[in-house]
Amino acid sequence: MLENIWFVAAIWMGLAFIASLISIRLGVSVALIEILIGVIAGNFLGIHKTTEWINFLAMLGSGVLTFLAGAEIDPVSLRSNLKASFIIGFLSFILPFVGVWLFAQFVLGWQVQQAQIAGIALSTTSVAVVYAVMIEKGLSNTALGKMILAACFITDFGTVLALGILFADFNIWLLVFVVVMSVMLWYMPTWTKYIIVRMGATRVSEPEVKFILLVLFFLGGLATTAKSEAVLPAYLIGLVVAGVFLRDKTLVHRMRSIAFAMFTPFYFIKAGLFVSLSALWGAVGVIIALLVLKISTKVIGVWPFARVFKMRTREANYTTLLMATGLTFGTISALFGLNNKIIDQTQYTILVTVVILSAIVPTMIAQQFFQPSEETMIAWGRLWSRSQKTNSKPENQEKESSNV
């Protein structure tokens, strides 16, 4: 009976359905519950293997999810906070990446590529988790809130770039992939807008959704041929069409409905399925060490610059802790390592557990001890823009005097 594709599909959809019910009941993201249901299914219900079609749906899940993550950026707020967001976002990526990589290689004795996967998985941050934390107190629309969200995008961009480049084969296919992707990235906003305007955004035949999926699949194919990772083009395509998505919410709603109903449940349940509880108990010390390392490298990278960028201690602490969160890209990176046989199940278990804990622990500390007020988050914007004007004045004066 369990060889019958319909029954297998029914079991997986049943698990996804239970996850939805629990998620609604508890008010916790359905993705996190699906991972936990996957853990239970893998460790207690005897579901140990996936089929080709489950892997395919899971792959689509991670691709579309990454695309949606890229499309969530607000280009205007990114541009207006570029300097602070870029520096904080970049340091929030590079220090944990290098720190965890070196620790995993030289202290834990992992091989180079395994240590790199660990570095990538734990360098991430989570835009969605940060957004959810801030919106409860109405902080997401403040100047500092927007800067933090933009910095999260920069960090995730670093993660996706590292995942796409570090394990790629540097051959002609990579060149083809980069050239084709660059051309498509350039034209995507125009093409997407054209299709929506000409065909309409509410057609039953859904041409705009099919067009986005066509591009994602095609670039995913090129990426994997070059031994790169399909999430790289997915994230970049999301970033370049973000402006179109901001104006046309129908398209993003449809993409999300399709993804969350059909693709992502397979991805997240599969992500949980390979978490081994027996391996977890044996690696509690390593998990704690990696979590502490992730948070402390974020502190070393983000906190000093948060202070340089005119944040008071409380806001600097809050910003640092929010940048230390992680979820989507952490699990995607770890599953990439497992699928490509770079890391083993124990290492995968360790990384996914640390990623999930990093969604919970830093946000709890930030909310409990360093919650800033809405006024101070708004005031930071005034202080920061004033300091930027003051810094740019001497340069302008110099230019004026040299013109004279």
Binding site: L26, G27, V252, R256
Partner: protein
């Protein structure tokens, strides 16, 4: 005796009963009446920003329905009912709101208000009665 009454209202049967009692008391005592909807359903640890956005939209739709309810109650009982909505853990939000705004009585239904995350931590009415700075009337 009571000048400012706060009633927890989420459209459930329990909260409707609580509102009826609160209206009666407010009219008898000439007190000011405010209905608060505290909802903590924004998903914790989401994967996409849109998950949160959609919950916000659905909360806003639900708020419109509740506002309509309150207007109907207000009209049929001939009393002004102020309405407000706050995001956050139901019990904590109600207790904090009452304290911050100087209410001297909180009226709650025995059921309702406690959905989702909060139900693991005990029913809202129990929690509010433990933590509120003022008197709490739990309507059965």
């Amino acid at each position: 005796m009571y000048k400012k009454i706060l009633v927890g209202y989420d459209g459930s049967e329990g909260s409707k009963q609580a509102l009826e009692h609160a209206i009666y008391l407010a009219k008898e005592l000439g007190a000011e009446l405010t209905a608060l909807w505290a909802r903590s359903s924004l998903p914790h640890y989401p994967e996409t920003v849109d998950e949160v956005e959609e919950e916000k939209e659905s909360a806003s739709t639900f708020l419109q329905a509740i506002t309509k309810d309150l207007m109907a109650f207000s009209k049929s009982h001939g009393i002004e009912i102020k309405g407000d909505a706050k995001l956050g853990h139901a019990a904590k939000t109600i207790a904090d709101y009452a304290k911050e705004n100087g209410f001297d009585l909180i009226v709650l239904g025995h059921r309702g208000h406690s959905g989702l995350w909060g139900s693991f931590l005990g029913h809202t009415a129990d929690k509010v009665s433990e933590h509120a700075h003022c008197s709490v009337l739990i309507v059965r």
